[in-house]
């Protein structure tokens, strides 16, 4: 049974399914490292998922049978723009207006949930539209490797980009002045402020970046993984992305590990269903959540949580 379950194609789909988690969780990592918890990721993802699909649909010439690169580019740009706007709004709410972050995020989530559905009903009358999303892009030579080639190197651009973001994030956070400022602001905003770092500006940057990546996460679902939009299609992935940041202890590598854990379980479930193997797949679905709770228990024993997480900063008089 095991060899039927864990095949190269299942592992490849595990890698692929990690994309939305990765974009969203990496964006959230930036925000949390600077001290801002954005619980609205799910809502931004839904907006990104819908708007990017819409753009791809609009820009693809009628009757096209395969992908149309400018349309895909438009999809990504529209998602980034929507994420930028929603990220900025989140920053205004959480940073400038110092709203309680656990609750404002629920508001942003409900807004995105409703708004994306509203647009979907209005534009497509609630009908599921399929678009030609990102095509597979084989990496020369590497994709010919036995097994590994199929698992890692026959994915599409958005998948490669998501994994490329991991080392980039590590580098930015740990090896650049910007990263130092972000960490300082999340650890001790008063001290950072005294050093002349603008807490507000840094947090605006991270939260807006987080919004853009969350929106891109949604796009990676709708125009790269499944190529359709459905009401509430993220089904909690945005909330998981927030938890993954805790799971990964605010480090890009840890976040990637967590994302892969969730996505591999998802891939296994799909396989269980298609093969009709008689395992209650609810157990498998539950496992990552239980593991996350366990991870949170262990994470809480460490001291690496950004000290100012969820605490608004206000300059003393």
């Amino acid at each position: 049974m095991i060899d039927e379950l864990i095949t190269a194609s299942v592992l490849a789909s595990g890698i692929r399914l990690a994309t939305p988690y990765l974009y969203a969780a990496i964006g959230e990592t930036f925000g949390q490292r600077s001290g801002v918890l954005n619980l609205g990721v799910e809502g931004v993802m839904l907006m990104g998922a819908f708007t990017s699909l819409w753009a791809v649909y609009e820009f693809t010439p009628a009757g096209a049978t395969s992908y149309y690169a400018p349309a895909l580019l438009a999809g990504v740009l529209v998602a980034l723009l929507v994420g930028l706007v929603m990220g900025l709004a989140t920053a205004v709410i959480n940073v400038s207006l110092q709203a309680q972050q656990g609750i404002s995020g629920i508001g942003i989530y409900l807004f995105g949930l409703g708004m994306s559905d509203l647009l979907f009903q209005k534009v497509f009358r609630g009908q599921v539209i399929t678009v030609n999303g990102f095509p597979r892009a084989n990496i020369p030579v590497l994709s010919d490797l036995p097994v590994l080639g199929e698992i890692f190197f026959r994915q599409n651009l958005l998948v490669y980009l998501a994994f490329a973001l991991v080392p980039v994030t590590w580098f930015v956070l740990n090896k650049t002045t910007l990263g130092l400022n972000i960490r300082a602001v999340g650890q001790n905003p008063e001290a950072a402020d005294a050093m002349g770092i603008s807490v507000t500006r840094v947090r605006y940057f991270t939260v807006t970046l987080g919004g853009m990546l969350a929106s891109l996460a949604g796009a990676s679902l709708s125009i790269s993984l499944v190529n359709v939009f459905q009401q509430n299609m993220t089904a909690g992935q945005g909330f998981i992305a927030v938890a993954l940041v805790y799971f990964g202890a605010w480090r890009a590598g840890g976040v990637m590990f967590g994302a892969l854990l969730f996505s591999l379980v998802n891939a296994l479930q799909l396989q269980v269903r298609t093969k009709g193997i008689d395992v209650p797949d609810e157990y498998a679905s539950m496992a990552p959540y239980l593991l996350t709770i366990l991870a949170l228990i262990f994470a809480s024993r460490r001291i690496d949580q950004p000290a100012a997480l969820t605490k608004p900063f206000e300059r003393g008089e």
Binding site: V92, A99, Q100, Y246, I293, S300
Partner: protein, 399 residues
């Protein structure tokens, strides 16, 4: 020496109380703009919304039925937020409560219905309390952020429901047939929560309110869950503001460190807040099952059973100023928006999803406007202090 508040400060307090209303008005205004963008007339749309929510006795009954889980979840939220814990787990706790009520109802189909109904409701409260209590213990003793743990527990509850509905609780008739959607059998009608329409008609007649369309409530789907919820809202008010336990819950929420020095067992009260909060959400699930759904199914996730009440209850509570009695009108307002949204969709072709988006905006506006309340209250303190010191100076300078 008596300190008097300057008159403008009273005005300030009124403004604070009105802020949530401004938030709704602003959201409706934005909603109006969105309706215009969708080529519909906002006035027609909002009239349809109002009619759908309050236009007929049936509409009012639907609104109250929809408000019931919001109010129950909401009064639980009042407890947890006042106790300094953020319970996002209403969805999961509702499911836990629904499952408990379902299990009890299916087990004792033949027993005395009234006893079984009470057992179901008590069971749903206990199940919700235990589910919430997990997050409480994790927070108090393992330092796990309750926002995250409750979100995880929501998903776990949803999958548990799907699993149980497909296996233990599946309708026996479905076992052989290839059924499209696995679901449980309908609970016996004797376990439906009693309808209160007839009683309401009697009261209406006694009050002389019944005009030409006399005895209209009797045909509505209004069940006694709303009465239970109203009573419990007042009970929770008494609990929070008139008992030692409530005082301690609030003290822990305001300042856990000071509470610890005052000898309050802070961790226990954190767990208690989450248990009570979960309990009321669980009860909302039990009432949702016995009053509205009567069965559970394995498709559509949590939202198919809860109708998102686990989240919308948070909105109602925030809107009601985290006060259980204030949550009553707030939950009716949001119940009305949700019910009216369907009419909006039918008559002016504006998707009901608009309402979800607007509710999201209301939350954002309410939490974002908090800063004005905080700033003003700080100014109030500053003003009172400076007045006190100047009066004190005056006393000293006097003869």
């Amino acid at each position: 020496m008596q300190l008097r508040l300057p008159r403008s400060l009273h005005l300030d307090r009124t403004l604070d109380a009105l802020l949530p209303l401004f938030a709704v008005l602003l959201a409706l205004l934005i909603g109006g703009a969105m309706i215009v963008l969708m080529d519909a007339n906002p006035i027609d749309a909002y009239r349809a919304l109002w009619d759908g929510a309050f236009g007929t006795k049936n509409a009012v009954a639907d609104t109250l039925v929809k408000a019931t889980p919001l109010l129950l979840v909401g009064i639980g939220i009042c407890i947890s937020f006042r106790g300094g814990v953020i319970n996002i787990g209403g969805e999961g706790q509702m499911i836990a409560g629904g499952l408990a009520a379902l299990a009890i109802g299916l087990q004792y189909k033949e027993a005395d219905p009234t006893t079984v109904i009470i057992a179901c409701l008590v069971g749903s409260f206990v199940a919700g309390a235990l589910w919430g209590g997990i997050a409480g213990v994790l927070k108090a003793y393992f330092n796990v952020n309750e926002i995250l743990s409750t979100i995880m527990l929501n998903q776990i509850a949803t999958f548990s429901m799907m699993y149980l509905v497909r296996s233990e609780f599946i309708d026996p008739r479905q076992k052989n047939a290839a059924a499209p959607i696995p679901e449980t059998e309908r609970l016996p009608r004797s376990l439906d929560l009693p309808r209160i329409g007839e009683t309401l008609d009697d009261i209406w007649e006694a009050l002389g309110l019944a005009g030409e369309g006399a005895r209209q409530w009797g045909t509505t789907l209004l069940h006694n869950g709303i009465v239970i919820a109203f009573v419990l809202a007042i009970v929770v008010y008494i609990l929070l503001w008139r008992t030692t336990i409530g005082y301690r819950i609030r003290a822990v929420g305001k300042n856990p460190h000071a509470s610890r020095y005052a000898g309050i067992k802070v961790k226990r009260y954190m767990v208690l807040s989450l248990m009570l909060s979960g309990g009321f959400a669980g009860l909302a699930g039990g009432i949702q099952l016995l009053g509205v759904r009567h069965r559970m199914n394995a498709e559509g996730g949590a939202i198919a059973f809860t109708g998102n009440a686990g989240f919308n209850g948070i909105v109602a509570a925030l809107f009601g100023g985290l006060h259980p009695v204030g949550t009553i009108p707030a939950s009716i307002l949001f119940g009305a928006l949700l019910v009216g949204g369907n009419k909006l969709q039918r008559t002016v072709q504006v998707p009901a999803a608009l309402i979800t988006a607007l509710i999201g905006l209301v939350i954002v506006f309410v939490v974002a406007s908090d800063i004005f309340v905080r700033h003003r209250s700080r100014r109030r303190v500053a003003a009172t202090v400076s007045e006190a010191s100047s009066e004190a100076a005056g006393v000293r300078a006097g003869p």
